[in-house]
């Protein structure tokens, strides 16, 4: 579950904007090459387009904070539990150092941001996983923060949205990270028994223990285009079946066809679509 996460690190970096600089000319600061359509694109244009390629609509990585700004009305987001930080339960070698490194890099304390705010005026709870923090891996704190977010929603009878972006369980927390799958799934069941809406939003990549728990439990499941979504990662599957994977395997469009997601929504349309869905659900 964790394996592909680390294996993917390199591949993942490929689609990050900064890594797409061509290093050979003075233009490098301004131009990037889209890894999907191979066009050279003005960097600023991509950034202003929510990190989506303006030529081919390829959806690149998008940070958790930007996501919150995209979805939540300005100035209304109240973050919950933002100071919770991981402890090294298993005494796993070099885990603290790793956490430190990512904290400095991302200026976040963990791989998920949780809180509440307004979406077009509607009160919602929003949890956004941070793909830049240890690949969005799920340890005890990610589990705890999401659980508390959902508990807040139950108390206040609010709908919940979780934006997934994760390599799965965090191996440095061993069995404890595995158990977060059960912990979050059960509080989602409680939310559901309260007839409250849960919308799961899948972004690139959503794999492992996250896919095998809350990512797949939405009343509605929405994916961004071209997101990798699966239980096992492509590399592991390739090893297992000793064959190349079919084109588009485990992408959003593949999952839609196979019946596992309700709809694919472009990043720029996401807020509006969520608003409509919330309205139809009586919020």
């Amino acid at each position: 579950m964790i394996k592909k996460l680390l294996n993917k690190e390199k591949e993942y970096a490929k689609v990050s904007i900064n890594k797409n600089f061509k290093n050979k000319s003075v233009d490098d600061k301004f131009w990037i090459k889209c890894s999907s359509c191979n066009n050279d694109i003005f960097k600023k244009e991509v950034e202003e387009n929510l990190n989506v390629c303006p030529k081919c609509n390829y959806h690149f990585k998008f940070s958790a904070r930007e996501r919150i700004d995209l979805l939540i009305d300005e100035g209304t987001f109240v973050e919950l539990d933002k100071d919770l930080t991981s402890i090294n339960i298993l005494n796993f070698p070099e885990y603290e150092e790793k956490i430190d490194k990512y904290s400095k890099k991302t200026k976040e304390k963990e791989a998920v941001i949780t809180g509440y705010g307004k979406l077009c005026g509607i009160d919602v709870v929003l949890c956004v996983m941070n793909p830049d923090f240890m690949m969005g891996s799920m340890g005890a704190i990610v589990g705890e923060k999401i659980t508390k977010g959902i508990e807040y929603a139950i108390e206040n009878q609010l709908p919940v949205m979780i934006v997934s972006a994760s390599g799965g369980a965090r191996m440095q927390e061993g069995i404890i990270s595995l158990m977060q799958m059960a912990k979050i799934s059960q509080v989602l069941k409680k939310l559901s028994d309260n007839n409250l809406l849960y919308i799961s939003i899948l972004t690139d990549p959503t794999t492992g223990g996250v896919t095998a728990s809350f990512a797949m439990l939405g009343d509605l499941i929405i994916a961004e285009p071209n997101a990798l979504i699966g239980f096992a990662g492509p590399r592991v599957i390739k090893q297992t079946i000793k064959q190349d994977l079919p084109e588009g395997f485990q992408k959003s469009e593949f999952l839609l066809e196979h019946g596992f997601i309700d709809l694919i929504v472009d990043r720029k349309d996401m807020k509006n679509k969520l608003y409509k869905i919330l309205k139809i659900h009586g919020y």
Partner: protein
């Protein structure tokens, strides 16, 4: 399993020596009883020494060993009656998970467990105990029925993990496991799980959102295989034994972490040495827990299970 052979090696040598002395004694009519007695005691001590001080990696080997008793073996030894039920009513009957209804003593139960094979042929049929989504969906179907007819649910956990194949992904491996976690969390009957061999990641947890989770002494339960972790940390699967050391995957570790509720004793040498003894211990544990939940209200059964998992992680 090479690791399992390594554990047994000095023991087997000593056993052979004793046999040899007995043969010599008999054939030549010499009294070697003192020597035999000394060696037998030595053997006994050696066994205790070896099996009480197994390294985590040796336990991994033992938990996976091909002669380790499986779900079927325990069902046979525990139930006075058992009827296996098949199918997810959607796509397939997955033989990597078996399930059915029966009696333990005179208590009606639903039993579900991962099922490995005894030989290559059966292992292929059972996909080495690695379920496809339909295995989890069959399990859920049977659990819902247990709830309807108010039967306690017993699950036996023994899988390297949910299968990582193309078709498994295509048919929603993630969805199937997730749905089980979701639904198990609010079942109105007690669920009692015993990890009998390998508790491999999400594939194990898919049968493990239970009121009580026990582990056989030499079984393991982990988020990833030691080989997997080693190849990530050191790019060398061969350093799996080192990985096993830091993973906290033994029954003792998990008991200390409060992730499991009970360690069930195995006979010296491991469960395969005396299936009946192991089964008896499992049965006693199950009956005790069923007795405990018998007069509890449905809400209390649900909230006990809920609180158990709610606590894991943050308040450790």
């Amino acid at each position: 399993m090479s690791s399992s052979l390594q554990i047994d090696k000095p023991i087997i040598e000593l056993e052979k020596k004793i046999e040899e002395l007995k043969r010599i004694s008999k054939e030549n009519n010499i009294d070697l009883s003192t020597e035999i007695k000394i060696l037998s005691e030595k053997l006994s001590n050696l066994k205790r020494d070896v099996y009480e001080n197994l390294t985590p990696w040796q336990k991994v080997g033992l938990s996976r060993s091909s002669n380790r008793p499986t779900t079927k073996d325990y069902i046979e030894n525990i139930c006075s009656e058992f009827i296996e039920l098949h199918g997810d009513r959607l796509y397939k009957d997955d033989k990597a998970i078996i399930g059915g209804i029966g009696f333990i003593e005179n208590i009606a139960v639903t039993i579900i467990g991962h099922q490995k094979g005894k030989d290559v042929k059966e292992n292929i049929e059972r996909n080495f105990g690695m379920p496809h989504p339909e295995g989890y969906r069959k399990a859920l179907r049977l659990m819902k029925q247990a709830e309807k007819f108010n039967r306690p649910i017993i699950t036996f956990i023994d899988t390297p993990g949910a299968f990582c194949g193309l078709e498994a992904e295509q048919r929603g491996q993630g969805e199937a496991i997730a749905k089980n976690l979701f639904e198990m969390s609010s079942l109105k009957v007690p669920i009692i799980s015993v990890v009998i061999g390998e508790g491999g990641s999400g594939g194990a947890l898919g049968l493990g959102v239970s009121n009580k989770v026990a582990m056989l002494e030499h079984s393991i339960y982990s988020v990833i295989s030691p080989e997997g972790l080693a190849s990530i940390l050191w790019k060398e699967a061969s350093k799996a034994s080192e990985a096993a050391n830091i993973m906290k995957l033994t029954s003792k570790d998990l008991y200390e972490l409060k992730v499991i509720d009970k360690i069930i004793k195995e006979p010296l040498g491991g469960a395969q040495e005396d299936v009946e003894f192991t089964a008896k211990n499992i049965k006693e544990y199950i009956l005790e827990e069923i007795e405990y939940f018998k007069n509890q209200k449905k809400e209390d059964i649900i909230s006990q299970r809920y609180n158990k998992f709610r606590k894991i992680g943050y308040n450790l």
